[in-house]
Each structure stands twice: as C-alpha cells, then as structure tokens.
C-alpha cells in the first residue's frame, strides 16, 4: 500500500503542470486530428486507415523519448532527483509515478484517433496491434533518451536533444509514408530505425500485404533496440550513490 501511495505522490507532482496548463492536452489532440484531415485529403479513407495505427505507435514513441527523458533531465537540473533519491522511493516507483502522472498528455494524442477509427469502422485488429506495440515503442523511446540524458554531465535543457531526435525519427524515415518509395538498399536499411520498423509491421498487417522477411527484420530491429537501449540505460542509471 505504501508503495502505491509513493507512486501516486510522484504522479501528483508530474500531473500538476498538465492540470494547470491543460492547453497542452488540446495541442496533443489537435495534431493527430490535423494529420487525419491531411491524409484524408491526399490519400482518402485508405490512407487514414493506415495512418491512425501508425500514429498511435509513433505518438507513444515520442512520449517515451521526449516526456520521460525531459522529466528526468528537469529533475536532475532542479535537484528534485536528489530529494527523491534520499527517500524511501525506489527507482521503479519514480518512473511508474512519472508515467502515470504524464500519461494524460500521451493519451490526448491517441484517444481521438481511437474514437475516429472505431466510429469509421476501421479494422479493430490493427488498432489493437498498434495499442499493443505502443508500450514497447514508449519503452524504447524512453530508454534511448535516458541513455543520452543520464550521461550529460552539465545541467542543460534536455529538450534541445530530445526534440530534434524525435523529429528525426518520426518524419524523416518511412513512418508516415511507405518505404516502397525508397530504393534498395535504403529501403531495407531504414528498418534499423525503430520507428520505421514499427510502421513497417503495422503496414504489413494491414490490407493483407505480405512482407514476411521485412516483418522479421523489423521485429529483430525492435528487439535489438530494446535490448541495446535497456542495457545502455541501466549502465547510466544510478539511483543515488553516484
């Protein structure tokens, strides 16, 4: 029970700025809605069908990469990190509370898209696949940013690192556009980028397109990223006794 209170206490801290600056939630909801309209305009219903599940996974990747990384960076600059270390709070409770407290911001992106997909009668299996992959995307995004953030010696605005990294992994590789527009071997090489791999898996499962080998490659890429970033983060993450 005490552990639960500790998690809720941390969540309380992290939810404060979202509760007070609730327009962030509106921003979070507007971006995917705008994207849906954009895709519908250019690609019709089929485009929207595919974009929604991809956006759900990409959004949670961004949540892990930016919000979690930035929160840890902010805590280290403000010394909240030290205050929490010197208490009963465990590192697991810290991250659980942080995710719980800031989750409304992540869900603001996803909720309207899920509603649109259901109302439009899109394939629920594809939605479930996207929702199922989301925690994995969030974890890899978080591990990647933490692996960088925790190695920064001098206090700085972490968003200067995480935001460009977010854009770089979301808009440059084939996430919201098909990888088929790229020539080989680039088409295969981009699977080394986790966001491309997530999108590729979703595309493979949509509309019955068979891309067996590419799905395996994407899966291996994701697994490799998960293991690599988790190990790199674990090495840098010191909950006190630094």
């Amino acid at each position: 029970m005490k552990s639960l209170w500790r998690v809720l206490g941390v969540a309380g801290f992290y939810s404060v700025w979202i509760r007070r600056q609730w327009t962030w939630i509106i921003q979070g909801a507007l971006l995917p809605l705008g994207l849906v309209l954009l895709v519908y305009g250019w690609g019709g219903v089929e485009g929207v069908k595919l974009t929604i599940p991809v956006y759900i996974v990409a959004s949670m990747w961004g949540f892990g990469l930016t919000i979690i990384g930035q929160s840890v960076g902010y805590d280290r600059v403000t010394r909240e990190w030290e205050r929490m270390v010197a208490s009963q709070l465990t590192v697991g409770e810290y991250f659980a509370g942080m995710i719980l407290g800031t989750l409304p911001l992540g869900l603001a992106d996803i909720a309207p898209l899920v509603a649109i997909a259901i109302l439009w009668g899109f394939d629920v299996k594809l939605l479930l696949l996207a929702v199922g992959l989301s925690p994995l995307a969030m974890a890899i995004g978080a591990f990647l940013s933490l692996a960088i953030v925790l190695r920064i010696k001098h206090p700085m605005n972490i968003s200067a690192i995480t935001n460009p990294l977010h854009l770089l992994t979301i808009f440059l590789p084939p996430v919201f556009y098909p990888s088929t527009v790229l020539p080989e071997p680039i088409r295969t090489a981009v699977l080394a980028i986790p966001t491309s791999s997530f999108a590729e898996i979703i595309r493979a499962f949509s509309a019955g397109v068979y891309m067996g080998e590419r799905v395996y490659l994407a899966g291996i890429s994701i697994l490799a990223w998960l293991i690599l970033t988790a190990i790199t983060t674990k090495r840098a993450l010191k909950w006190g006794l630094e």
Partner: protein, 297 residues
C-alpha cells in the same frame, strides 16, 4: 545503539582531479541541531550529499542512525529527509500540493498527508498562500514551503542544505525557530548547512567548521568560542595600522577588526591608535572560525 545520529569518518569525495571533500570527520548527537558551517565551496554540500546517499564517498565511511551510507543505504533512506541546495520545484504546484505529494512520496496516505500539510502550512505561516502557485510566491515563501515539506516527513535525521538562503531577516529567524522547535519536540536530528555563522550561533547545539574540504573543528558554540583566546574585538576606522603591531587584526578596507582579551585592552588600543570611529563587541563564531581556520597569523 550509538548516541550519535551521524558519524563521518575521514569522508572524502573526488570529482575528476578535484577533491571537493578531503577529510570530513565528525559526529552529530541524536536529537541535536547541528550546523555544518563554512564558506562557499568549502565542501558542505558534497558532505551532505554523501551522508544522504546521493553521492558515493571516494574514501572514508559514514553512518546515519547507525547504518552505513553505502552498504546499508536503503536503511539510511528510510530514516532521512533531505532538502537540497538550490532546489527548485515545478512552478505550477501550490504549497499545499507540494507538502501533500512530498509526504505521499514517502508512503503516507493521502488523507494523513493532506492533514499534515495543513498543519505545517499553519506552522510556517503559509496558510494564506497555500493554494497559490509557487511561481507567484516570494523566494522566502518558497523556501519555507520546502523546509515545511522536509520537516513534515517526520524523519529521524533531516538534512537542510542552506535552508535560509533568499529569506528576509524576519522569515529567516522564523524558519530557524521552527527548525529548532521541531527538533526539540520530536527528537529529530537536524544537520543544516550555512555560510552565515550568526545563524549557527543562534540555532546550533553543535557546529562543525568545514574549510577547503576538511572538517577543521567541531563542538558546541561555546566550546568553539572558548578555543579562541580573545573575548572581544574592536572595530576601528583608521588609516595607519602601525599602532596594531603585535595585535591580531584583520583589515577590511579602511576598517580594521582587532581582537583583544578584555574590554580594557580594546580601549587601550583605541587610545593608542586614535581611530576616527570605533566600537567594541564580544567575539562570535565568526571570530572563532577565522581564528581556527587562519591560526595565529
């Protein structure tokens, strides 16, 4: 069970080639208010960060409430509360929320945390601003909020790193009074750091002088004062210091602080030097610090 809440033995910490703490050896008795005093950069914060298990000592050892800060760090963490120096919280949080969530983070249930928060807001005179966002609070009110959250934890040992920074005179004394009262009422051991020795003299049961990363002296304020052979100091405003030959003194611009053993000696010195103005005061911890750190020079 040892009677000491904090035991530091030859504690050292290095950052690269720089030794921030070179030798911190001291003890703090249970239930006392101890002050780690020294100039900026003396190693106070690094010492506290080691004692609170934030930093690993490079050498030496320390125990808090009988538990080793490295080997038994989880036991230490269960028994301490820490307010870091330069700590800044989310600007949108209110003092009520800050104390409530801080207590919940320690495993206290919401309703108890809420009740305790209200109690401490009253104690520190923050009830009026309890629901205001912290970024509109004054620096002093913010600092009080942090002190309240730390003391409210009900920990065995409380570490407050520069708790009176940014406080106006009135708030400073009010915070110091509450720290002392809280310690005496609950038996909490408090270790606070400051570079303002008048604060140390006012609040401390025990003072540890730290200079250049080394704990150079430790004792009650009166014990430390007794280590200085001078009981008075004469503050002169004069041009020529030739008349002070053989006298221990310190020049601060056109002012000179000369230490004497008695009031009569100070008056005689004033007769000899004929300063523009002068005053005679009893020596304080500042003088003891200067004497101990600087020696007889």
């Amino acid at each position: 069970m040892t009677s000491d809440a904090i035991e530091a033995f030859e504690l050292r910490r290095r950052f690269g080639d720089f030794w921030a703490v070179r030798n911190a050896t001291f003890t703090v008795k249970r239930g006392s208010v101890a002050v780690l005093a020294g100039p900026n950069g003396a190693g106070k914060t690094t010492t506290v960060r080691m004692l609170t298990t934030v930093l690993r000592p490079s050498k030496g050892s320390a125990r808090v409430v009988g538990f080793d800060v490295v080997k038994e760090y989880l036991e230490v963490r269960r028994r301490i509360a820490y307010m870091p120096q330069d700590y800044a919280t989310v600007g949108d949080i209110t003092p009520y929320e800050f104390i409530t969530y801080s207590l919940m983070m320690r495993g206290v249930g919401y309703f108890t945390a809420s009740r305790e928060a209200k109690k401490w807001l009253d104690l520190l005179g923050l009830r009026q601003v309890a629901k205001r966002r912290s970024w509109v609070l004054s620096g002093g009110e913010r600092r009080k909020m942090l002190v309240a959250a730390t003391l409210a934890a009900g920990a065995d040992v409380v570490f407050l790193d520069e708790p009176t920074t940014e406080l106006d005179v009135e708030s400073k004394y009010s915070v110091l009074r509450i720290i002392r009262e809280a310690s005496k009422q609950t038996g909490t051991t408090v270790l606070l750091t400051t570079h303002m020795l008048e604060e140390a003299q006012l609040i401390a049961d025990q003072v540890v002088f730290i200079n250049s990363g080394e704990a150079v002296a430790s004792g009650t304020p009166s014990e430390l004062l007794s280590r200085i052979p001078y009981k008075y100091k004469a503050i002169f405003e004069l041009v020529d210091t030739k008349c002070l030959s053989g006298v221990k003194y310190l020049s601060v611009g056109s002012r000179v602080i000369a230490w004497t053993r008695s009031v009569e000696e100070a008056r005689e010195l004033a007769e000899t030097c004929r300063p523009f103005t002068y005053s005679i005061r009893e020596t304080t911890l500042e003088d003891a610090y200067l004497y101990i750190v600087g020696g007889e020079k």
